[in-house]
């Protein structure tokens, strides 16, 4: 669901970034403060900013140019009230309007320049941002691919995807728009203050006195608004979650006549969303009227105090024109302050997002400790020497596993579920590193081999097969990108997958949806077997590969798997007696320990664990 949202958000963001009317301007027009989901506050602001600046530094001349034009435009813009005050003093109060047009034209000219500058600066900034974002995104993804599996276990797939999509979006917003507006607001504020004080310092002091009030209020309301929208987002996500889950599971609901069972849960969340949505709108709605009110209040106070000063002291300390000028400036004062207040939050979010992305970029790469030994092909001699392994420190998963396999042998691993069978094969291709001990292939520790080459030479058919979105062809081709179409089809035939693929409406061009959900588990496994066959590995690992395929298909692929296993060292986790009996060696693993090993016959003779297992499962 989040994908759909991000797309829509992207649309909105692009618009916001380049559509001047959607951004705050000193003249008015509030931007809705509606950021995406907010994460925790940034921990190390200055380090993150430094790093962001380093990226920006690549474009320092363009940025310098933007800053300069912005300063010029802002000052020109700020001249307008001064021009008004001149017009008032020189023309209106003298009832001589002959020169007033020049002032009107000057104001129009300034507006034109201002518009041009805003336009080019925004455009340049968006362009720079696009480049930086692209760079960051690619760096992050490259690191992600190189990070060890344990990193994925630790962070979770959702979090990692969110860092590259949502958090990078946050940086995008901050860089593309917030930074610019922040700078712009600052320039305006300084400009207004300087010009105001030149007109009349006493009145200006009064205006400055309002800063804390404005800031306090704006920061308070934006916080509330942000919280409101965040709450709305949370409830929307929760509701979408309920919708998604229940529509996915609606068949179950129908199968068991449970309609209405989840309606309550839905209505409750829907109600919460309604309230949250209203509160968010409410707080967002307060800000603008209040600013309008404060704006006029300041205006009124300036004029009132100005009038009093004019009557009691008079020119040259104060003129009607300077009162009008300061009152005009006071109107321009409130927007940048309010923007600063609001943008501060957005900026912080961008920094927090950047921090999370940088954290990912700094993640360990499993290739940092890559071996150097190149691999052409393995002969397939395998040895586990005192292998110890645990995912976390408390629970030992493998304890002191020792065994050897000669090239071309078939090793069957048996034992109860959760005993460590799967883990035994997971450490073989270095998805996880050992706590102690060594695994040797062809006499060399697997750590000394080049890792991706090592993995390419070891074929795995996992229990939970992952297929990629794309065509059936692409999925099989994934096993070897150099393979020709004929080779791909040959692999599919060998795996027994060709028959059902040929019956699909688009054959090899049939699309596989996310996670391969449009194929049955058996078909998914057939495709993944074909993929592994194409890869033509030297070592083969089958993890209950055929347990979900119906009997006929099972019989069919069994034959081809046997051909495949023939000249390769194969390790199979299987429940099928046939495989186990054919094995050159059977490893019985329970509670992380290798408790028995030997051939079927020798193990039966021992009358140990394997014997009981055999009696229970097969002899009945």
């Amino acid at each position: 669901m989040s994908k759909i949202l991000t797309k829509r958000e992207l649309k909105a963001d692009l618009l916001k970034t380049i559509d001047p009317s959607k951004a705050p301007t000193p003249q008015g027009g509030m931007r809705r403060n509606r950021g995406p989901m907010m994460g925790p506050k940034p921990k190390n602001v200055s380090a993150t900013i430094k790093r962001l600046l380093a990226y920006l530094g690549l474009y320092k001349f363009a940025i310098l140019f933007i800053a300069l034009t912005l300063i010029v435009a802002t000052f020109l813009n700020l001249l307008i009230p001064t021009l008004f005050s001149i017009a008032l003093d020189d023309y209106f109060l003298t009832f001589d309007f002959t020169g007033v047009y020049r002032i009107v034209l000057m104001i129009l000219g300034i507006a034109l320049i201002n518009s041009l500058v805003r336009f080019t600066s925004r455009f340049t900034m968006v362009r720079i941002t696009q480049k930086i974002i692209k760079q960051i995104r690619e760096e992050a993804f490259a690191k992600l691919m190189k990070a060890p599996i344990s990193y994925y276990d630790e962070k979770g797939a959702g979090d990692l995807v969110s860092r590259i999509s949502n958090d990078i979006d946050l940086i995008n917003q901050s860089l593309g728009q917030t930074v610019l507006e922040f700078i712009n607001s600052f320039i305006i504020l300084i400009g207004v203050t300087v010009l105001m004080f030149r007109l009349n310092w006493a009145l200006s002091l009064i205006v400055l006195g309002f800063i804390p009030i404005i800031l306090l209020f704006v920061v308070y309301i934006s916080k509330k608004t942000r919280k409101g929208f965040k709450e709305q987002q949370i409830h929307l996500a929760a509701l979408n979650g309920i919708i998604e889950e229940n529509i996915s599971g609606i068949k179950v609901v129908k199968l068991y006549g449970q309609e209405g069972a989840f309606t309550e849960e839905f209505s409750e969340e829907n109600e919460k969303l309604k309230t949250a949505g209203f509160m968010a709108q409410f707080y967002a709605g307060i800000l603008w009227p209040f600013i309008l009110f404060l704006n006029n209040l300041i205006y009124l106070v300036v004029i009132a105090v100005g009038a009093f000063l004019f009557i009691s002291i008079g020119a040259p300390f104060i003129t009607i024109g300077s009162i009008a000028g300061v009152s005009q400036y006071s109107r321009q004062f409130i927007m940048p302050i309010s923007n600063l207040g609001q943008q501060f939050n957005a900026l912080m979010q961008g920094i927090a997002g950047a921090e999370r992305v940088f954290e990912l970029i700094d993640a360990p790469s499993e290739y940092d400790a890559d071996g150097e030994r190149a691999i052409d092909t393995f002969k397939g001699a395998l040895a586990f020497e005192g292998v110890h392994f645990s995912y976390s420190e408390e629970v030992k998963v493998l304890e002191d596993i020792n065994f050897t396999a000669e090239p071309g042998q078939l090793i069957a691993i048996v034992g109860p579920t959760g005993g460590g069978k799967t883990t035994t094969i997971k450490v073989l291709n270095r998805f996880y590193n050992l706590d102690a001990g060594r695994i040797l292939i062809d006499g060399h520790d697997i750590q000394t081999y080049q890792m991706d080459a090592l993995r390419k030479r070891i074929g795995i058919v996992l229990q939970d097969t992952h297929l990629f979105k794309g065509t059936v062809f692409e999925n099989i081709h994934y096993g070897d990108f150099n393979a020709t179409e004929t080779e791909v089809i040959a692999a599919a035939k060998a795996a027994g997958a060709h028959d059902f693929i040929a019956k699909l409406p688009k054959r090899y061009d049939t699309l596989v949806t996310e996670g391969g959900q449009n194929f049955s588990q058996g078909e998914r496994q057939l495709i993944s077997i074909a993929r592994t066959l194409l890869n033509n590995p030297d070592l083969l690992i089958l993890d209950e590969a055929t347990s979900n395929i119906d009997t006929r298909t099972e019989a069919k692929i069994q034959a081809s798997l046997e051909v495949l296993m023939k000249n390769r060292t194969s390790i199979v986790i299987a429940h099928r007696l046939q495989t186990i009996q054919k094995a050159d060696k059977i490893l019985v693993i329970d509670h992380g320990k290798l408790i028995e090993q030997g051939t079927h016959a020798s193990l039966l003779e021992q009358k140990g664990f394997y014997y009981d297992l055999y009696q229970a499962q097969f002899a009945a």
Partner: protein
Amino acid sequence: MKQINRFTKWMKGSFHLYLGGLFIIFLLQYFRTLPPLFVQHIIDYVFGVEPSNLPGFMQRWLLADTVQQQLILVAVVSVLFTLIRVVMIFAQRVLLAKFTEQVAYGLRNTLYKHLQNLSYHYHTNAETGDLIQRVTTDVDTYRMFVGEQFVEVARMTFLLIFASYQMLQMNVTMTFISLIIAPIIFTIAFVYFMNVKRIFTEVEEAEGKMTTTLQEGVTGIRVVKAFGNERHEIEKFRNDSEIFRNQSYRLVKLMAFFWGGTDALIFAQYALTASFGIYFVVQGTLGTGQFIAFLALLGLIVWPIRQLGRIIGDFGKTVVALKRIDEIMDQSSEHEGDSDFAPTLQGNITFEGVSFHFEDDPNHLLKNISFDVKAGETVAIIGRTGSGKSTLISLLIRLLEHQEGRILIDGHPIETINKKALRKQIGLILQEPFLYSKTVAENIRIMHREADQQTIHSAARLARLHDDIVNFEEGYETLVGERGVTLSGGQKQRLAIARMLLKDKPVLVFDDSLSAVDTETDRQIREALSDTWRDTTVFIITHRITTAMEADRIIVIDQGQVVQQGSHDELIKAEGLYQSLWEIQSQVMDETLKEGEDA
């Protein structure tokens, strides 16, 4: 009229809020056109000698003897007006927010409830993702339309009307001059935004493609690494990222061109108004104040006209969204007109010459099926994939309605029994069960929400799942799915079984639901069941002979017909499908036995 109804029918019940909000907006827009007139009043009337263009009643409020007094009055009145505006803006926002949220709330509730009542067949054919989008994104599109887009259009229309009115009041020729470019800008904006959508879609697609690569790379990381394909993925992502960047840049350039171009047009309008204005002022046909008021009024309307073009160009999206919503609402509920008869079932099931085919497909999936099952019997239904085994069960729980013959449960024709009551009493266990991302306990409790802890535990024990669960860190409170533990195929199936065992059911159906459970556990579960669930009619749908052979009776189905019926011992002796299946499947066992003897 139908179109309008499509837009308004969801607003019922809170429409008065909308009307109130829109009325306040109407007044507010009038007030917005007054400040330029205050300026005109001061310059032309207070300082000058020309008449004021303020409305009569306001002029009366501003009457005073001296210039100073008049100025003070203008200031006071304008500030007062601003205060009124502040209150009105606030009230309008609250009204509209309340309205919008209420409408969205109602729409979501109605839609969600309706979806649940649509037939199983509908849901089988509908794409889940599409349905989800209709309830979420399409509803949100409508919410945005009601709460923002339509309001914006109303606001701008009112403003345009009042601004034109104030201009006309001052000077007719100048009004036309000042509004001459507006329609051009509007047209350009409209055409532009209609066309730029295509590019938006392309950018979205490019981003979608990139996100897919990202997501697939992450979820499939084990496969990526297993084949050592990291570099390939990185290259692919870089490619996608490049395309996405290029597409967005193209969009940005187009946007820049549009905003820059229309900016230029707007300034051209300003220049036109200013030059003619100056000319008229010099001629004496236009007051200085009027001239400035014209520029100010122009500024009020000329900038937002571009937005108007965009929003109106966007209306089509809402029409489409509403159409998609209506498509769901137009489907009739499968429970409409359903029987109220809800007997407690015993489990005697009779099929009499039952045939079935889908409406749009004349090929019969089931032909002339007849059999009779007594309560408490265990019946295996065996057949190849696609033979019609599962269709049979769909007919039994009325997910599909048979066309010919009769299905009787305890002698009642199945159509006379309330659907929900029927489905609640027939426990169907699927091969790939659906689990909610809730806790294990909640997932078991789904079919019987008031079940207590003890019941849940004993059901889990029966399904041989209890030992697995207590090994989880948080036991029964462990979350299932993405945020929690991933259950293995076998654990999922056993959980699905546990669900069904919470409460006595007259009929249980195992739809190939022990396929991922190992043979030993499979046997244990079946034994446990036959001990405790003696009176329950059990259907076992399978292609595994070993699972079927222990049943009281085996029904062999092939190409939609019952081809054989009988016990295992009878069937292996008779020539037919069962025998040949038996031969294929027992080959493996024979071999092993022989080898075992040799050793």
